[in-house]
Amino acid sequence: MKVARHLLALGSGLLFAFGLGLGGMTQPTKIVGFLDVGGDWDPSLALVMAGGIVVLFVAHRVARRMGRPLLAPAFPVLARSGVDARLVGGAALFGVGWALAGFCPGPALVSLGGGVHQTLFFVPAMLSGMAIVRLLDARRRAPVADETGAPAPSAV
């Protein structure tokens, strides 16, 4: 079961990387083209999102009928409500960094494998940023439900 879960995670990561590459997400010039709504706008990434969302929308309905995952004991309960300053402000900061470098976390890791030397600056900085929040949270925050279904930041 554990080996199957690990192989599945590896396969999912490989397919995810392929999807990012095919969709144009590993081309920061296309990311900037998508965000450049006032200039020479490239709507491609809206189609990446649309394609992914359609499949996942169906998958969530399938999951409800399944009751539990094929290889794990239970589906985690994910937060839906609770739009707060931390969420909106964090996402705002994320958007600035995304546009500044042209990378978000997935494509940055794929481009690291692809030998893009810029990721040698971006990825360590990104991991440091994550570590900073983890350290601050461990000091003062109550646990918050995680989008990934992982334990809350203070308990990761």
């Binding site: 999102m49 996942l56 794990a72 995304w98 997935g106 900073i132 983890r134 279904g149």
Partner: protein, 143 residues
């Protein structure tokens, strides 16, 4: 619109959706890359090594993309090391404050119609667009 790639992008999106759907339906895990990567920094649970497998898949996939298409699907922007470091810090801090990034909120969260994810996506798209505009108008597109 010269660079618009509707079919490749739609196909790429379907592949992303399939990858994330497999992880959810089989392992019961959300394919949120920032959360998966962050969980690797402080592994505590017994079964956390799946995160290394997923991240390993992403990196190996990048190796395969670079070989298969000779870098045609991977490029970079004219950015200094400083801009990349600041961008990386913003992405790292921001994704953890928001508990998700373009994959966790933008794909998985929107697909389950989560109000939190709608708010996050609107927020990062807005500041991303303003930042691109600022870089183009104030710095001529390079930093």
């Amino acid at each position: 619109m010269v660079h618009f790639t509707p079919w490749a992008s739609l196909a790429g999106g379907l592949a992303l959706g399939l990858a994330a759907a497999l992880l959810w339906l089989c392992n019961g895990r959300v394919a949120g890359v920032s959360g998966i990567a962050a969980g690797l920094l402080w592994p505590e649970e017994g079964d956390e090594s799946w995160r290394a497998c997923f991240v390993g898949g992403l990196v190996l996939g990048g190796v395969a993309l670079a070989f298969r298409w000779h870098g045609a699907t991977i490029d970079a922007l004219p950015r200094s090391a400083g801009a990349l470091v600041v961008g990386g810090l913003c992405v790292g801090v921001g994704s953890r404050l928001a508990n998700g990034c373009t994959s966790g909120h933008g794909l998985c969260g929107l697909a389950r119609l989560s109000p939190r994810s709608f708010a996050a996506v609107l927020s990062f798209m807005a500041t991303g667009a303003v930042t691109v505009w600022a870089i183009r108008s104030l710095a001529g597109g390079a930093l």
